[in-house]
Symmetry: C2
Subunit: 78 residues, 2 copies
């Protein structure tokens, strides 16, 4: 799951990182956006059920719908 | 770029989220690991040069090598 700020929302952390990278000599950086990243291991009947659960987890807890967007990928547990 | 805690390192945030998900009724959650997620837009001659820059950014600034690991994917800017 990737939760990041909407493009229209200021990202002070991303800005601070971009400046820090610049002062470390990474002159080719054009922009940085920061966000949160979660790996959730869960049991589900199938991919569809897993996707529904993950979507609910994001919209009810992990992402603030006012300022954040989320994406997720499903992976069969190893 | 994905920066997450090494598997051997305690993840209090992940634990708190797992508990919160449990109390919201997501009973099938077996574990949660949390981390940071960065999207960096940069200019580079080719993919190899871009990968070298990104690797340096992670090891010099974005990831703490003692407790964190990092992965990244390259994408041609749209």
């Amino acid at each position: 799951m990737y939760v990041s700020l909407k493009p229209t929302v200021n990202d002070p952390e991303g800005l601070a990182i971009a400046n820090a990278l610049g002062s470390l000599g990474f002159g080719t950086v054009q922009g940085v956006r920061s966000g949160k990243y979660f790996q959730v291991r869960l049991a589900a009947e199938d991919a569809k059920a897993a996707a529904e659960q993950v979507d609910q987890m994001c919209s009810r807890l992990l992402a603030n719908p006012v300022i954040e967007t989320y994406e997720f990928e499903l992976e069969r547990a190893r």
